[in-house]
Amino acid sequence: MTRRGRLALFAVSAAGLSALLLWAVAGLPDFGHFQGRYGATLNKVAVSERHATNVVTAIVFDYRGIDTLGEEFILFTSVIGVALLLRETRDETGRIHDAVRSDALRLVGIAFAAVLFTIGLYVVAHGPITPGGGFQGGVVLAGAFTLVYLAGDYRAYRGLTPQPALDFVEGAGAGGYAVIGIVSMLLGSAYLHNFGPFGTPGTLASAGTISMLNLATALEVTAAFVLLFTEFLEDLQLTREQSA
């Protein structure tokens, strides 16, 4: 096909697509005028029923908790897949040298890692109260560990994240989520039904199983991302040694 023909085809399809898109956007409800019944109901009942002031977290870990269980295991299995593929091809060498030699960079990096770690804990702990939660906070926590490596201290990074501990925490997070659901069943309600204790809305000790599931997710996500990064890092080192 000639360049001219392709351009003509693009012009026609782009015009068609943008017309359809504009049509769809024009049909959307106005900002702040969502019509769905489900959303309105949850907004009304989440705080009084579950004592969670962040309705998004209440939905994720309670009203559709079983979907989140699935998502949790998606992450779990994909990290297992990466570990299986990459661990097979190398033996433990542990000979990665610190790339950063500047003391100032190290100091700033480690200081930022501490700040980032605190922010991550905050985002996790306040999941049922303010925006955030186990997933977002977990990635921030993993980012804090990564920063320790980026600041140049590979030995400190590996010391902070020993492989057996990572494997255990990841499994405990994913498994803990499923086990909390079974506890609901043992107490005589549906799987993952929130059995409390509910506490006072707006405080850290509130929202019942939402808080527990939030914490389990945080453990799983933190360990999963650190594990993922470590596997890539070790594989990278192997590539370096082979090319050297």
Binding site: G132, Q136, V139, V140, L236
Partner: protein, 78 residues
């Protein structure tokens, strides 16, 4: 739609186009991170702070990190 929302959407559109038009892979890692940041701003303006936080940690932190590691591996670990 208020002007602020329109501006945020225009910014996202601009950076999305920049991501598509970038050919050099290191620049792509940086520009896609910046694109994620504009999306974060969009979500905050549209009052979806939870989604904004998720986008922030995945789009601006986790994704570029994986891309950078992939680039280094592809270059033979230089």
């Amino acid at each position: 739609m208020i002007p602020l929302q329109a501006a945020a959407m225009a910014l996202v559109a601009f950076f999305a186009l920049a991501v598509v038009l970038t050919r050099e892979i290191v620049r792509l890692a940086m520009i896609s991170s910046a694109y994620a940041l504009t999306l974060v701003v969009l979500f905050v303006i549209f009052q979806a702070p939870d989604v904004a936080l998720s986008e922030l940690v995945v789009g601006a932190v986790a994704f570029p990190l994986v891309i950078v590691v992939a680039i280094v591996m592809q270059r033979g670990g230089e």
